[in-house]
Symmetry: C2
Subunit: 537 residues, 2 copies
């Protein structure tokens, strides 16, 4: 394998830059070996893994080191791709959009700077994972919950910046973020919101501050390097109930969403409810080969037999109720009454004390039925159970996700589901997906699961994603997030007034990063210096 270089840079210049960086972060914190760099490739790439390869990786240990690293990058105009811990799996992992970029890996900066139990927040560095924060809270006896995303090993900062979401009442991570420290491309360090008040009192308490608020502009963006982030934490409730409702028919989805929406809007249910497709539910309990080994997507008959045998629903709704026993009772009665309108709906529910933190294996309690399928997350306990999906299809399990925003109406949900399922089957993929319910929208997540060892499956997964994005756009839907390979395509779909939004994004990009050193191409935003690299690869 020939040596990878940053674009438009000679090997000699790159060596000079690397020498400078070594003097800043230390020899061991500059990775250039093929073996070292291989760990930064996208493990789930829906195409050639080398398409998004790094030329080196730097692991700074402080804000000052980052500032010094930036000076060198500006000098040689070398693009840097920042990752917190690099666990952005299904969207590219730690790999950079522009091949040859240098990965700036912040996982060594992993301090939990502050936890305030009274005001229910934490201030963390990028290397802090959900597991770390959860363990810290337990260790110190803080009566606070994290809101874990599907995989607990991810960075709190990274997940929040990518607008990940979880399962509790704090499931909208971006909405529960408060205050950032950011290093700009020119090395300037700023604090957003109330953080502008030095030795202040409200950096993690009031989001906007005074004047324009910039936090949301540093999410899914390449405008700066976030080095500290405040997150609000949910006070542990006095008690909680984890519930599952299983539905028997595909078309029930419409009624489910129509019944759920008002319950979410009036906060009868405060958590980010998951409406899980039967196949994804089944993947937590079995593997695909037990049910089907033929070509193409699992036939309807095999799916039906599997669901019956496993005794799970075609749709499985996971919800939680938090509060005093009286409030939980009153809300449960409303929920049960509402969903009883769906024929053959089956209810499961189990109550817990607020300090019930689950067993070591990751189950919130011993009853297998109502608490399986990710429920641990609904009680603020990070897990890795989502990775069971990798075993579903066997081989070198991987997945790439299609993530359109769906209006919270039954009609839209059923339409997206039908559209995705039909197209997936054309390419030989099962509908492995579900919906996570905000108040007025649903995050529809479909995972194309494939075997990285099977070149044809890799190819088909890539093709499928492109088709799905076109289908969605034609129907008036847009994605909230996209894999490296589709970042430009997704951005181009936001085409109102000939792409005015992207024009604004790139005007700001050029103002803040004139040399184009920060994450060129991230979410389709290219600095002037690299704008010719835009493309749908």
């Amino acid at each position: 394998m020939s040596r990878s270089l940053p674009p438009n840079l000679s090997a000699a210049q790159f060596d000079l830059a690397l020498a400078s960086w070594r003097s800043i972060v230390g020899e061991p914190q500059v990775v250039t070996s093929a073996a070292g760099l291989a760990t930064y490739l996208d493990p789930f790439a829906p195409g050639e893994r080398a398409a998004f390869s790094a030329s080196a990786t730097l692991l700074p240990g402080s804000v000052d080191e980052i500032r010094a690293v930036l000076r060198v990058a500006n000098q040689y105009r070398i693009p840097l791709w920042t990752v917190s811990t690099g666990r952005n799996f299904a969207y590219g992992g730690a790999a950079p959009r522009l091949p040859g970029s240098v990965v700036l890996d912040l996982h060594r900066m992993n301090r939990i700077i502050e936890v305030n139990e009274t005001l229910a927040y934490a201030l963390v560095e990028p290397g802090v994972t959900y597991f770390d924060l959860h363990a810290y809270l337990r260790e110190h006896g803080h009566k606070l919950w994290v809101d874990p995303p599907a995989a607990g090993w991810g960075s709190v900062v990274g997940n929040t910046l990518e607008r990940g979401f979880g399962y509790t009442a704090y499931g909208d991570h971006a909405a529960k973020q408060c205050g950032m420290e950011v290093v700009l491309a020119n090395g300037d360090v700023l604090r957003t919101g109330m953080g502008g008040i030095e030795i202040g009192t409200a950096w993690q308490l009031y989001q906007p501050g005074y004047g324009p608020s910039f936090d949301a502009m540093f999410m899914q963006s390449n405008y700066g390097i976030v080095t500290k982030l405040g997150v609000w934490l949910m006070p542990a409730p006095p008690a909680y109930l984890l519930g599952e409702i299983q539905f028997q028919h595909e078309a029930d989805l419409e009624a489910i969403v129509e019944i759920l929406r008002p319950l979410r809007l009036d906060e009868t249910i405060r958590n980010h409810v998951v409406i899980e497709g039967g196949l994804r539910r089944a993947a937590g309990l079995s593997t695909r080969a037990q049910w089907y080994e033929g070509p193409g997507a699992m036939p309807e008959r095999a799916v039906a037999a599997m669901l019956e045998k496993l005794d799970v629903g075609r749709w499985n709704l996971h919800f939680a109720l938090y509060g005093t026993p009286e409030l939980i009772d009153a809300r449960l009665a409303i929920v049960q009454r509402a969903f009883a309108r769906v024929p053959q709906a089956r209810f499961f529910a189990k109550r817990y004390a607020g300090n019930a933190m689950g067993d070591a294996a990751g189950n919130a309690a011993s009853d297998a039925q109502p608490t399986a399928g990710g429920d641990r997350n609904l009680a603020g306990i990070p897990a890795m159970s989502a990775f069971r999906m990798l075993d579903w299809r066997g081989g070198a399990g991987a997945h790439v996700d299609f993530a359109p925003v769906c209006p919270a109406t039954g009609r839209d949900a059923l339409r997206q589901y039908t559209m995705v399922k039909t197209r997936a089957a054309e390419y030989g993929f099962d509908y492995y997906g579900g919906f996570t319910a905000g108040e007025r929208h649903l995050h529809h997540i479909f995972a194309a699961i494939f075997d990285r060892g099977d070149a044809n499956q890799v190819e088909q997964a890539g093709q499928l994603l492109r088709s799905l994005m076109s289908d969605a756009r034609a129907a008036g839907y847009g994605e909230y997030r996209a894999h490296l390979a589709y970042m430009d395509f997704a951005a181009a779909q936001y085409s109102f007034n000939d792409g005015a939004l992207l024009r604004l994004s790139e005007t700001i990009k050029d103002a803040l990063d004139p040399n184009g050193i920060l994450a060129p191409g991230k979410q389709g935003i290219w600095p002037a210096a690299w704008r010719d690299r835009r493309g749908y690869t």
Copy 2:
């Protein structure tokens, strides 16, 4: 009175610009008469009203007209100051920060473009007031509530952009905003978030969209002209309860905040609770002259006598509970149990059906005691009762507000209260104020009420505000909003890393508005062309 001109512009050039503008918006929509311009002066100016005077006012009727107006402004480099309806009273009204700016008054653009009852949102133009939107919802039988700010005549767009707040569960207006249309200084029109998807489905449903999110950057800013704004509306609850708890002692404030915080954090109480100072509560029922006519702030004895006579508390907490009768009961029990810990606390509560919309006089119901003092707002009914404060001190009643963000702890609240009350008394002002409770912060609002006809009072009010800002900053507090006269001073307080936040603000300002035509000086942000005008006037 000599003719006012835009800064750095000759009368001849201005006449050319005005002629162009007349051809765009029509002769009657260009105001240059002294009488016409006088209506754009700050009615509550804490100093010379002429200090912030406009040279003309333009009233465009459409986005296309705004774009054409901008072309002329760019050509002549004339600063424009945009207002929605110009009701930003206590912070400057419709008056521009840079004297001689041309006011761009958008109140003629007053369409309610869409109301979606199912998904509970509205899309409105800048001229739509809370009264307008409330009337529209009633008229069409939509089971949705607006969240009115203190004065219902204000613009929904204007109030949201200034980060105003209200009293219901939707009291954080900026947090309930979803989707904008913005005209940039160069005339480019963009739609934020999911609005980038043309003929899309989720512009008013999912806030961030794909990539960086800019909505919060267009709030309290001068980066663009917002021409359409989506706001989420609260579904009318099946029932609600309006409650008031009266507390007898000044020092109770500490316990009140400590008890309230967990109830807000766990959403036992979902509305933006108001902790109203006794004097402000009394102003809704009487005038100052009934109790005291001597010099300086009302003495303690007079205040105590007044509160006793009116039978109101030293602190009066206004809360609402929304939901089914069972949920309201369960929550009320929790609230009562919690506040019963404060000696001599007195409870008042009244229940309503969800469709109870109050009587014509603005009371939510007939019981005078528990429902007076702004409670109508807690049921989503806009009012003008806050203006009773103008009668409190008599004469040409005016006020200027001091609005520091306060951590939601009893210690901080009591500290701010004591600090403000003491300083106010020094300048001869009563403590007329209260706290509105978010979850982790309180908006502390103190109004210096003065008689515009009394030059000494005007002068003292201005001096007091400056002192309060310095006091707050020294104690680690910052303001969330400020009057024109103090915008630069407030911005300068956000001084972390030598003002890095303001450097970012102005870098973006220069990129988006190179000629500096949009609202120079707004919230302390000056474009390069006018940066020498920064100052604490």
